[in-house]
């Protein structure tokens, strides 16, 4: 637009936004993705894949409800199998969204502004997928409300001393707080969509969701306080969630589980896999929707660095785990460590080492961090590696525990795989709906990145 302000300042040296953007062009570019009638082929393909896998999920759940959890490979002593592996994997992926939206906000990392929205959406959908597994694993999922304390005629209540009950509280709190945080962040952008939508139905729906937001200075002042407080609340929460998930293991005395470094190791692993998912989503999205000016190479580089740092922590944890197995002098801990390396799960173990110890070290090279296609491949490697890690911890420890006579090797059945792939479908389905219906980048926060959003910045030139 001709009457738009011109960028007169040099863009921030960090290059977290391409030069030449204006308040108007940012708004138009991000909101057009939602408001246009045209749907790109990429979207159709992604949504279609999600839908197909979602149908597979519904089929797998249908069969599960009819026949019971025996269709999965879970047999004594490996009663957790795929279900809990997938649960921990999905919950971990969600953690990057909260890290970006809360922790990086408190640390005043402004580059987060252009990736926080879809990362938070990723968190929500990942938690939804994670929640499926403990529910289905109950065997009688329709009685899930027995997990919560409520007055009932049976006169029984959950055992509050059990980490599994802690998990119910931690994960449901996490899902609720993530949803609230996400919605609060969306409100100003929903108002933008309301004001720009041509279609009356869309205007009504966005208008109702925006709740009458009008960008008043009084509201912004409270809003900023609310964002900071929510970030402050979400930060300890996100660290606690995977800690509590790791309590599911550490509080038990199964060899290979009973160790004090699980909480930090789980949290680091969660952020590691979460950033991999952020990259796996951001790299194709920014190409297809032409958003390279908003999600720049700098964003990818920073995310890759976080992945490298957390990957090194995870690698350290593996080494420490093996060291503890040897140094503890405990015959069972020692046996579990040796079994992991040489036993029936040796292939998985060494693939895991390749994915989570060797692969992240390639991210030291700027060439890999700077090449989106390679980074995409690397993030998939990390996602596979982290899944194997969860699998290794859960399955190998249970399959070969203290009593040799009860050992049994676990194998996932096709329904295990169908359910797992099905939740990937659920995730893709929800995520593609999200990018079609809601702004995938926070419009108002990206506006604040512009040099002329600063009061006093371009006033002289503009007045002259």
């Amino acid at each position: 637009m001709a009457d738009e302000l011109q960028v007169t300042d040099r863009p921030a040296t960090e290059k977290i936004i391409a030069p030449g953007y204006t308040f108007g062009s940012i708004t138009d570019q991000i909101s057009t993705v939602v408001l246009t009638r045209k749907t790109p082929v990429f979207w159709m393909a992604g949504f279609g894949l999600g839908l197909v896998l979602l149908l597979l999920f519904l089929l797998a759940v249908g069969v599960l409800l009819v026949k019971g959890v025996g269709i999965w490979g879970i047999r004594t002593p490996v009663m957790w199998g795929f279900a809990i592996t997938n649960f921990v994997w999905w919950i971990g992926i969600g953690h990057a969204g909260t890290l970006i939206s809360a922790i990086l906000l408190l640390l005043n990392q402004r580059w987060r502004n252009s990736i926080n929205r879809f990362a938070e959406a990723m968190t929500l959908f990942a938690v939804a997928c994670a929640g499926m597994f403990p529910l289905l694993h109950l065997g009688r999922p329709w009685l899930f409300y027995w997990l919560f304390p409520y007055p009932n005629t049976m006169g029984i209540e959950p055992n509050f001393r059990s980490p599994l009950v802690w998990d119910v509280f931690a994960v449901s709190t996490y899902a609720t707080v993530s949803l609230l945080f996400w919605y609060v962040g969306l409100m100003p952008d929903l108002a933008t969509l309301r004001d720009r939508a041509g279609n009356p139905v869309a205007r009504l729906v966005y208008g109702v969701m925006a709740m009458g937001w009008r960008g008043s200075a009084r509201h912004w002042s409270v809003y900023e306080t609310a964002s900071l407080l929510l970030a402050g609340i979400a930060t300890p929460l996100v660290l606690s969630v995977h800690t509590v998930v790791s309590f599911d293991f550490t509080i038990a005395i199964v060899p290979g589980w009973h160790s004090t470094f699980f909480p930090p190791y789980f949290v680091a692993g969660a952020i590691y896999s979460g950033f991999a998912m952020v990259l796996a989503l951001a790299i194709p999205l920014r190409s297809v929707y032409g958003l390279k000016g908003l999600i720049t190479d700098k964003h990818l580089d920073n995310s890759a660095k976080v992945m490298l740092a957390t990957g090194l922590i995870v690698g350290y944890a593996y080494i420490l785990e093996a060291f503890t197995g040897w140094y503890s002098g405990n015959v069972y801990e020692h046996a579990v460590t040796v079994n992991r390396m040489t036993g029936p799960y040796a292939v998985e173990y060494w693939t895991l080492v390749l994915c989570n110890i060797v692969a992240p070290n390639f991210l030291w090279f700027k060439k890999i961090r700077g090449t989106p296609a390679l980074l995409f491949v690397w993030s998939l490697i990390v996602l596979v590696g982290m899944w194997l890690e969860r699998y290794m911890i859960i399955v190998s420890s249970l399959a070969q525990d203290n009593l040799v006579s009860s050992w049994r090797v676990f194998q996932g059945t096709r329904w295990d795989w169908a359910t797992y792939l099905g939740t990937i479908g659920l995730f893709l389905f929800l995520f593609f709906l999200f990018i079609r219906l809601l702004p995938m980048i926070s419009i108002f926060e990206v506006r604040t990145l512009l040099p002329h959003a600063k009061v006093g910045a371009a006033a002289g030139e503009e007045r002259g």
Partner: protein, 177 residues
Amino acid sequence: MSHRVHGVIAEFDNPTALVEAARAARQKGYRKLDAYSPFPIEELSDALHLHHNRLPLIVLVGGIIGGISGYLLQYFVTVLYYPINIGGRPLDSWPAYITITFETTILFAALAAVLGLLGLCGLPMPYHPVFNVPRFALASRNRFFLCIEATDPLFDVEKTAGFLKTLEPQEVSEVAD
């Protein structure tokens, strides 16, 4: 049509002009002011003296209520309602209750933050007079507005509009109530 006005609104095309206009209006003695912008502007809150709000207190109270009720819930269930003696261990085994107490603290604090935000902003609000100004739709895009409301003792449609025009806005318009 009865000539009721909500106020007079001036449109600016950059945040600096809006903040300067808000300062000038305060200096002129206007107190019933509101400004509208597509993103939060810290200097604007300064100019309009908006720095204190009760949200932190609301969140604190929410968190304390959450923590206490989370602990009491567990205490009630394990000590009073459904006590089980396991090897003579104490019924009120507080270290085991800390996790859930922590989670309910967080949950109630977050709910208090969001409900408090909506409450303090008076949202949801289905109707507000500023939306009667056609160009106000740009307040969520790239325009900045300053509104002097009719409830201000110094308010006079002509004079206030005249004053706003001296601030070099893009446009000044009346806001129908």
